[in-house]
């Protein structure tokens, strides 16, 4: 049981594979239906569409992070850097260069992804706690650049003066109101989730899991583990950057807070809370985290304590996160 039941590798290769696959397929269908219907049922339970967009965006960022954290075994404390770079990329493109939302999102994703791809090889030279330290340092570097470079980034006050533009498709124009934008985020989420799923079920993904499980052994086998960790780092950076870009589009605003290590910490909490060995763990984590931030903060000033408490309890009692807990229950 060293490789968890829920990891995609076992899910796709074990003998009852056909059954699990179809069960998983059914689960995906139900999830898709629930997510597609959000604008219809969320207002009935006191939510609002922008909140659902925020959940998906944070879930996407945490899923990107989770490729590195849960599947490759690299604890990054600096993923807000790529998230924030994606956001600034989108903001600056829309403000100065283009009126195309899609082009801006592409540029933001590339900016953050490129940074992750270039910095990955430096970060992976160390492992364990030193790996984490370097990711924090690099993340904070971008934070301070954004704070200091007033003329470009707007400094501490953040970048304003851009907004998401309507998307013109052949035959139809999306005005990009709250609901349109939610479906746009959902589409991006779906594409990224599918790609991540494909990667995790390809030999590349199996290598990531193998590195997590036994790094030394893979080194002895002659596999260049650093290279694979760097690839994992780059992919997870790209996904985080795309999430960041969507976040900037949601708010029509971005600030250095998006680059700060506290946000990296939030992503980690989301991934761990939901279940980091589980593909949809970060989505569950994001739902819990954002809902708590939104609702508990209206009830008590000490909402941060509640989140902290839930986090501590979940780490002590369900170390595999919420989804991990339910999976273990159903398999036993």
């Amino acid at each position: 049981m060293s490789t968890d039941l829920s990891s995609p590798r076992t899910a796709s290769t074990k003998s009852p594979g056909k059954f699990t696959m179809s069960r998983r397929g059914l689960g995906n269908l139900i999830l898709a239906a629930v997510l597609l219907a959000v604008p219809f049922w969320l207002p009935l339970v006191g939510g609002y569409t922008d909140l659902a967009s925020r959940v998906l965006i944070y879930a996407l960022a945490a899923m990107g992070l989770n490729l590195l954290l849960g599947y490759t075994g690299g604890l990054s404390f600096g993923h807000a850097a790529y998230f924030g770079l994606g956001a600034y990329g989108v903001g600056l493109m829309l403000k100065y260069e283009t009126h195309s939302t899609l082009l801006a999102l592409l540029a933001g994703t590339l900016l953050g992804g490129l940074a992750a791809a270039l910095l990955g090889p430096i970060v992976v030279r160390r492992r364990g706690i030193y790996f984490s330290m370097i990711t924090i340092a690099i993340g904070q570097m971008f934070y301070f650049i954004a704070v200091r470079w007033n003329s470009l980034t707007g400094g501490e006050d953040g970048l304003t003066g851009f907004s998401r533009q309507p998307i013109h498709l052949p035959g139809v124009t999306l005005a990009m109101g709250s609901v349109d934008f939610y479906y746009f985020v959902l589409l991006c989420f779906g594409i990224c989730a599918t790609l991540l799923w494909i990667i995790l079920n390809a030999p590349l993904g199996h290598t990531f899991v193998a590195i997590r499980e036994n790094h030394k052994r893979l080194t002895f086998l002659g596999i260049k583990t650093r290279r694979y960790i760097a690839i994992s780092f780059a992919i997870s950076g790209i996904v985080a950057a795309m999430a960041g870009g969507l976040d900037a589009l949601l708010d029509n605003f971005t600030s250095p807070n998006l680059l700060n290590y506290t946000l990296s910490g939030d992503f980690l909490i989301i991934a761990v809370l939901g279940g980091m060995r589980n593909f949809y763990g970060p989505l569950v984590g994001a739902v819990v985290f954002i809902m708590m931030r939104d609702y508990v903060s209206s009830i008590t000033d000490n909402w941060m304590s509640v989140i902290g408490l839930v986090f501590v309890v979940s780490v002590i009692f369900f170390p595999m996160g919420i989804l991990g807990f339910f999976n273990r229950k159903s398999s036993s």
């Binding site: 609002y48 569409t49 909140l51 501490e156 304003t160 907004s163 605003f253 600030s255 000033d301």
Partner: protein
């Protein structure tokens, strides 16, 4: 006949008596009971309840709630009750936007106000514009909010950075001298303050003796202070924030600099003064409002009622921002006789706060051209041995109109949606 007459009389009398009783009831009831059909006018307020800005946010919320209670006690707005919905923005623009979105889509607010820090103010101003809402920034000082980034829907109750610096510039310059040294926080707000002071200093014929940019979170200021001692300026201008300011002021006292050189700066808040240890209570600063105004009508009564409501806590400038902003919305709605955003915006342009709301001399008004409230500034010095709430000695109340840059110079070009 008699019977019928008396019957008539009785019925009419009964009707009359009923009407009279009803009228009397309407007039005499001190606390109106709202009819079920009366939908409240809703003001959403996003302010930090948590984070480093929390003490300031709490004061603004208390001020606004105090105004809400007063307004409802006096009959509401256009005989509709006022409802204030407060959400925690945590001083973070992203969280503030989330909360604003929630207030708009779930609570269907009519007006939006709040924020302590500039970043959140700018973000909410843009958000409110998108959602066709009137927004009153209660506490973000960045010049551009009513300058280059001014918007048709956004008004500001607190002062601009420029007003803060010019508020006590004259006092410091005339009283202490021409050569100045700056220790400034190394980020946008600090830079803006220093630039504003330097412009005024050069215009008045002064010189900059030196300057140091201290990164946020600096704890050891001794290297800067040695330089200050060597340069011997007349005025040491501190443009620091929060704990940095406290640390620096303690070290200045240890170096004995405050005995030789006048120490001063821009913004100072009652909340901050209260938190300072006695050793660090000195210097010349600007308050944006102060509770001790013996010569201004209505102030003493307000302070007394406020302190009674909040267990002896005195109103600060932040409390007044919340109070005045809430009243400004009431006054503008009544002037417009509507809650339509554009009509209320038009009614608020040029709106003069009446003395019982202004609680200061000089009749502050929201300037039509850039939507900036021209409030007075209260330069003065900190009383070192003072006990709360007697911590500040106001040396002058300077009219805002005299301090604020003209709208054209501030860079505001107001455009309205078609």
């Amino acid at each position: 006949m008699n019977d019928s007459q008396s019957g008539n009389f009785d019925r009419r009398g009964l009707l009359k008596a009923g009407a009279a009783a009803g009228l009397a009831g309407l007039v005499a009831t001190p606390k109106p009971t709202w009819a079920v059909s009366e939908t409240p006018i809703k003001i959403g307020m996003v302010d930090p309840i948590t984070s480093t800005f929390a003490p300031l946010g709490h004061s603004e919320i208390k001020g606004a709630k105090f105004a809400e209670a007063e307004i409802n006690k006096a009959g509401g707005i256009m005989s509709r009750p006022l409802q204030l919905l407060v959400e925690d923005g945590a001083g973070n623009p992203g969280t503030s936007l989330d909360k604003a979105a929630r207030l708009v889509s779930r609570d269907k607010i009519d007006f939006l106000m709040g924020t302590v820090n500039s970043a959140s103010s700018l973000a909410l101003s843009q958000f409110a514009d998108k959602h066709n809402l009137l927004f009153i920034a209660t506490g973000g000082h960045v010049d551009s909010l009513t300058g280059t980034n001014c918007r048709w829907n956004t008004f500001r109750t607190c002062s601009t950075t420029w007003m803060l610096t010019s508020g006590d510039f004259e006092t410091l310059f005339k009283k202490f001298g021409k050569s100045w040294y700056f220790i400034t926080t190394d980020y946008a707000f600090g830079h803006a303050e220093q630039a504003d002071y330097t412009t005024q200093l050069k215009k008045a014929g002064g010189t900059v003796a030196g300057g140091a940019l201290a990164p946020v979170g600096t704890t050891d200021f001794s290297s800067y202070l040695i330089d200050v001692k060597a340069k011997k300026p007349k005025v040491l201008c501190l443009l620091l924030v929060g704990d940095d300011q406290v640390n620096c002021m303690k070290q200045i006292a240890q170096f004995g600099i405050d005995k030789e050189i006048a120490v001063g700066g821009a913004l100072f808040e009652l909340e901050q003064a209260r938190a300072l240890p006695e050793a660090a209570r000195y210097g010349w600063w600007t308050m944006e409002w102060y509770w001790n105004q013996p010569n201004t009508p209505h102030v003493a009564a307000f302070v007394k009622a406020y302190a009674a409501q909040y267990n002896g806590e005195y109103p600060s400038a932040r409390s007044w921002f919340g109070y005045a902003s809430t009243y400004a919305i009431k006054l503008a709605v009544e002037r417009a006789q509507s809650t339509d955003t554009m009509k209320v915006v038009k009614a608020m342009e040029g709106l003069v706060l009446p003395p019982e709301v202004a609680l200061q001399p000089n009749a502050p008004a929201y300037r039509a051209a850039d939507h900036q409230l021209l409030l007075s500034m209260f330069p003065g010095h900190v009383i070192q041995t003072g006990k709360y709430p007697n911590l500040f000695d106001v040396s002058a109340i300077v009219p805002g109109a005299q301090l604020a840059l003209p709208p054209a110079a501030a860079g505001c070009k107001m455009t309205y949606p078609a």
